[in-house]
Amino acid sequence: MPRRSDLKSILIIGSGPIVIGQACEFDYSGTQACRVLKEEGYRVILANSNPATIMTDPDFADRTYIEPLTVDVLAAIIAREKPDAVLPTLGGQTALNLAMALHARGLVGKPGTPELIGANAQAIETAEDREKFKIAMIEIGLNVPVSGVAHNIEEALQVRDQIGLPLIIRPAYILGGRGTGIAHNEDDFKKIVLDGLAASPINEVLIETSIAGWKEYELEVMRDRADNCVIICSIENIDPMGVHTGDSITVAPAMTLSDVEYQQMRDAAFACIRRVGVETGGSNVQFAVNPLTGEQVVIEMNPRVSRSSALASKATGFPIAKIAAKLAVGYTLDEISNDITKMTPASFEPVIDYVVTKIPRWAFEKFPGTSGVLGTQMQSVGEAMSIGRTFAESLQKALRSLENGRSGLNCDPPEMLMRDKSDDEMIAQISVPTPERIFQVGECVRRGIARERIYEACRIDYWFLDQMSMITDERVVLGECGFEKMTVQLWKRAKRLGFADAQLAYLWNVDESTVRARRIAAGVIPTYKAVDTCSAEFSAQTPYHYSTYEDENEVRASSKPKVIILGSGPNRIGQGIEFDYCCVHASFALREAGFETIMINCNPETVSTDYDTSDRLYFEPLTQEDVMNVIEAETLAGGVAPRVIVGLGGQTPLKLANHIPVELIAGTSPHSIDVAEDRKKWSALCEELKITQPPGGTALTISEAKKIASKVGYPVLVRPSYVLGGRAMQIVHDEAHLERAMHELSVAGTLGREGGLSSERPVLIDRFLDDATEIDVDAIRDATGEVLIGAVMEHVEEAGVHSGDSACVIPPPTLEAWVIEAVESYTKVIAHALDVRGLINVQFAVTGSQVYVIEANPRASRTVPFVAKATGVPLAKVASRVMLGASLAELRTEGLLRKPVSGKHVSVKEAVLPFSRFPEVDTALGPEMRSTGEVMGIDSTFGRAFIKAEIAAGTELPTSGMVFLSLNDRDKPSGLVVAKRLRELGLGIVATSGTADYLQRFGHPVDRVVGKVSEGLTGNKTDKQSTLQPDDAVELIKRGEIAFVINTPQGKGGRSDGEAIRKAANIFRVSSVTTINAALAAVQGLFEQQSHPLEVKSLQEYHQQ
């Protein structure tokens, strides 16, 4: 069955911004889908609001709509483009839910409308509706956990009575387990049911018997329209049932299933996909297995490409998304060839001769107040994957890939924190799943605590515990041996168990470089094997490598000039898809320019780790040891050392720059990077260049910090060196607060975490600029000294809000011409002074007539993809060429460097924050970045573009009802404008007494005045208050009487009132803005929208202008 010729154009729905539970794996899958469908000759239309994605590059689709992902917007795109089909299975849960909504509105999947390909509405419903799914599974004879469905608390209580506690509650149609939880008692049960009902778009929860502690597995299934089914990969979770699979450490292939059990599971997975009716494409089926009896139950099924399928693709080399796209347009598996072998068809089941381990990365440190306990709701923000020949090797590699200051399964400085704990304490700790648990289990195993006791506490399968004991046993051997007496065999054994040089250095109390030198002298260097889908049965054509320590190295010789691009490792807040975008663009551009490109990265979600993004791919941790190993292996294979790009993957590669031979670094020199990163050197440079900085200084101790603060005056901004995403940055208002902040940093320093204070890493203390406008500039400087200004971006939120959490606008809507000139010229001066070759990002703040420079980063910034999409200039591609020696003039001649589009559109980038996952957290924005992703709105005016960005970010803007206003004094004057606009929009105003007084004083009526919230929260209202002010804001929010919240935090001290309001809004899903500028922009946009209905336009059209 060849490709369908009845389809001409296909709309692909992307997954929108990066959020917890839905990350860049859908850029990876969407990019593959776009590419393959274009290659097949279809007209590809793409809708995705996320500008940081590769898929939204105008080259990847015929029409790219960077527009909010809502039903209305998609309806407008469908009306405009009239696609023959809509493919919703590659854009995560977002795309699936949108497809269902479009279907419900009769816009797809009905005669005369585009066909839903990949999965039809009925299949999606069967898989996603918990009750229908269960019934379907029982119908085909599969076991499911006993359960019932509830739409309200009464129904839930009935189910509870039937089944009994403990129970697991799962909302229907959700992603990443949002609203899911396990209830062991009555109170928890009611609370989780209510949360779950709220989280489910159809207010439905499934309540099932808890099988926490069972073994958990996933199978990745593919099916074509001839009903051929194959399993691509089996995945076993080390963390048993009870921890969301996205938060579990997982291993591929499954390790502890016999063939009899595996085949039973395989049969069940096929029966499942057939019954659900996913006609073509990939699905993920999750199973739980009782470790005592082998009983298997089906937990759930995703009728689409998922996070696990991205992992399975990277784990096996089988491109699930690409094949799924081909199957969706009619091909069958046997008609598609296996890219890696080229000889064999895709209708087979990959086998692998290595072990893959995935470990999530969390960001609890950014969300004070969260428990840090893992459960059935996903909370991780990224993940690292590693490949080793054995589990032990791959586990240790994965742990050091996380960049959490750990070198493997303990045997590193942070392990000291566990040393003082008693065995009982350790056992108590491992009975609670947390990010630290794997290390704690490792420590328990090392201590020789009875295996049964460890197992009973954590329910991690005995096999994994035994494998961990191989690591801890060997550690004893190595420690006793000492590094003087190491034999080749011992070196090999240690490395085969995944020990990093850094771990051995710790064990022997020597330098890592000494360990490395000794090891290399012993002739023990890594061998690189290939990922080939077939365990070497056929010869692999695709050089996709991982390291191990065995006999044979498979890296092929090559004489082309080579460039290594260091990727950005696991996603984290502050370092995500934007940097992957830059790395991938560099690879594309340099490949085209004749270089052999070599990618090193360990993030399975990304496009950069797709096997055909670069000429060679090394799936390796981004540590000094592992990166140097690849450089040396490639030098051997090519005869000449490759050049290395450290400036595109964020902080991760930048931190490695000093360990790489300086002559190999392509682009800005490590020396310049250091000048910009080291707060002291940077200040000196600014002085020399006569560029004003906010007054301040650097401090290593609390007393130094106090001295500086008293000199420049509070409030001050406290910033550690070498951090990303404002890690541990704080605005400090008084000395007590300063002491706290410095103390936190010094504690962090001993943990070896990002943002720690140490003698090499001083803290910068600046005068905080109240009410300043922040500006970002992205620029490229070449070797001839020409500087290209990519864009000047004005932030919507004032200085003090981390640039990553702030909305920003191109072109700047309010900046005066002289300011733009000033920041451009400062940028040039700084770029020259740092002798930048490639990208530089400079941040400024403007107050009145003073422009301050805040910081400069001579590397790719988070905004590079946004700028590229706003201006049509492929900044990352241009920069990568410049880093390898091309001049901007040459690139202009070549046609790569185009003029920025001179259209009249305005582009707004807005941050997307994960607060719905962390209800305990204050949603006020600050200098520490907490957003996970971003969206872009493009339109003809700032107001409308801003509104689009807000809608895309999930903000529900009010169209009727009451808006709650509570402003700090500084913001009250602007509040008048907001109030006026709200009135014009026909919205009511509820305000706190202070704000209300102010508004009324200036003639703006307030519909309702509410009291302080703190009383309401503690429940200690006095009679007097309650007669005067019967309600407080939290109460109104709870009751659903507020449509929108505008609350700007008090600068100093007691944040509690506002915090309670913001938390309530978060918990009860009432959208809010926490800065006055965002409020102004929002009301302006709403106002403009009244006279100007929503319009959509593709990036290609914008770029043509």
């Binding site: 001839a226 009903d227 051929n228 194959v230 089996s234 292939p253 499954a254 390790m255 502890t256 299933l257 016999s258 063939d259 009899v260 059990e261 595996y262 085949q263 395989r266 049969d267 470790p291 005592l292 009896t293 082998g294 069958t332 598996l333 046997d334 000889m343 064999t344 068809p345 209708s347 087979f348 089941e349 990959p350 086998v351 692998i352 001769d353 290595y354 072990v355 020949r389 054995t390 589990f391 399968d461 005995y462 096999w463 035994d466 094997k529 077939c534 365990s535 070497a536 049965e537 056929f538 010869s539 065995e550 006999d551 044979e552 498979e554």
Partner: protein
């Protein structure tokens, strides 16, 4: 734990260092034809499959022994393989079904092995050069090499003799009467057949008359080790039974022997098919079955042009995977529809056999 250093040497002189596992080989060295198997699960079924007589099995999956062993998963009561080669042997097992660890199992079955081997390098050698004789043991390298060089391999040797039952026996109590030739039959096949038949398992040397005397509804030709052309007598008996019009079904060696009985030809593949992921096209339906395979020899489909229709083809290398003999009730497949280990995609063939026998 003391490490018993061991060395593996191939006939071409390639050396692989590792450590001894399982039983001590007789005379300190084990030898055989080295092949590789790519299945991710099912090591016990593979090791106990009589088709591996004369061969040393390399597992490409690095961790072997994870879930231990159980008598339930034996494909035969004896192990005929000459040895196993693994990257990483799990000394401790974890699975509710298992009652023993693999090392103890190997000792009990008197099978030796070598662990710690760069099995990927070994597989790449075998893939490029073809299945090759080899030897391993704790003896010195030179004597291991000389043993590897004197090893004969499997071509031209009647290995069936070593594995077939000496006495006929009965399995199952189904309505149909099936006579199964034991060329090295797997337990899983007997389980599949006994779902609908009373199976009389007979030695490979049984003549057509001996079989006919049992008055069967159908005859089954089992899998088995080695070179089909070396199996004495079987093709003659098979031909006579086909001519008698007895419904017949063959698997693997049974497929090859049926081919030879009909005058067709077989040849040796470079490194054979040993795995559980081979795509096979069912020519009649067009659909793809993922199959379990274990063979070094293969049927030349051109040699069957006039007598049989090709029913199944391997999609990796287009080799023959099945045939249906024209005008008579006989069919056979090269792969293992019974699985054990491997996918269940092709179990329908047992139903077809039952139907062919006119019942069920």
């Amino acid at each position: 734990m003391t490490i018993r250093e061991s060395v593996l040497v191939l006939q071409d002189g390639s050396v692989f260092e590792g450590e001894a596992i399982g039983a001590d080989p007789v005379g300190g060295i084990a030898s055989g034809e080295v092949v590789f198997h790519t299945a991710l699960t099912g090591y016990q079924e593979v090791i106990s499959d009589p088709s591996y007589a004369g061969q040393i099995i390399t597992f490409t999956t690095p961790h072997i022994g994870n879930y231990g062993t159980t008598p339930l998963d034996n494909e035969s009561s004896h192990v005929f393989a000459r040895g196993v080669i693994v990257r990483e042997m799990s000394h401790r097992r974890s699975n509710w079904r298992s009652n023993n660890d693999l090392d103890t199992y190997l000792r009990g079955m008197n099978v030796s092995g070598i662990a710690g081997i760069d099995t990927r390098r070994l597989t790449r050698v075998l893939r490029d050069v073809g299945a090759m004789p080899g030897a391993f043991g704790q003896a010195n390298q030179a004597s291991v090499l000389s043993r590897a060089q004197s090893e004969l391999g499997t071509s031209g040797i009647d290995l069936v003799q070593q594995v077939t039952t000496q006495q006929p026996y009965i399995v199952g109590s189904g309505a149909l009467q099936v006579v199964a030739y034991d060329f090295g039959i797997k337990s899983t096949i007997l389980r599949c057949l006994s779902e609908f038949a009373t199976v009389q398992v007979v030695p490979a040397s049984y003549s057509a008359d001996q079989v006919l005397a049992l008055n069967p509804d159908g005859v089954f030709l089992s899998n088995g080790p080695g070179d089909p052309e070396a199996v004495e007598g079987a093709p003659l008996a098979i031909r006579a039974l086909i001519e008698q019009g007895i419904p017949m079904f063959g698997i693997c060696l049974g497929h090859q022997l049926m081919t030879l009985a009909l005058g067709g030809k077989t040849f040796k593949l470079p490194f054979g098919h040993h795995g559980a992921n081979h795509p096979v096209r069912n020519v009649r339906t067009g659909s793809v079955e993922i199959t379990s395979q274990n063979h070094n020899f293969c049927v030349d489909p051109n040699s069957l042009k006039d007598i049989a229709d090709i029913t199944h083809t391997n999609l990796n290398d287009q080799t023959n995977e099945g045939m249906r003999v024209r005008d008579v009730r006989a069919f056979s497949v090269q792969y293992h529809p019974e699985a054990g280990p491997g996918p269940h995609d092709s179990r329908y063939l047992f139903n077809e056999f039952a139907q062919l026998m006119g019942q069920r």
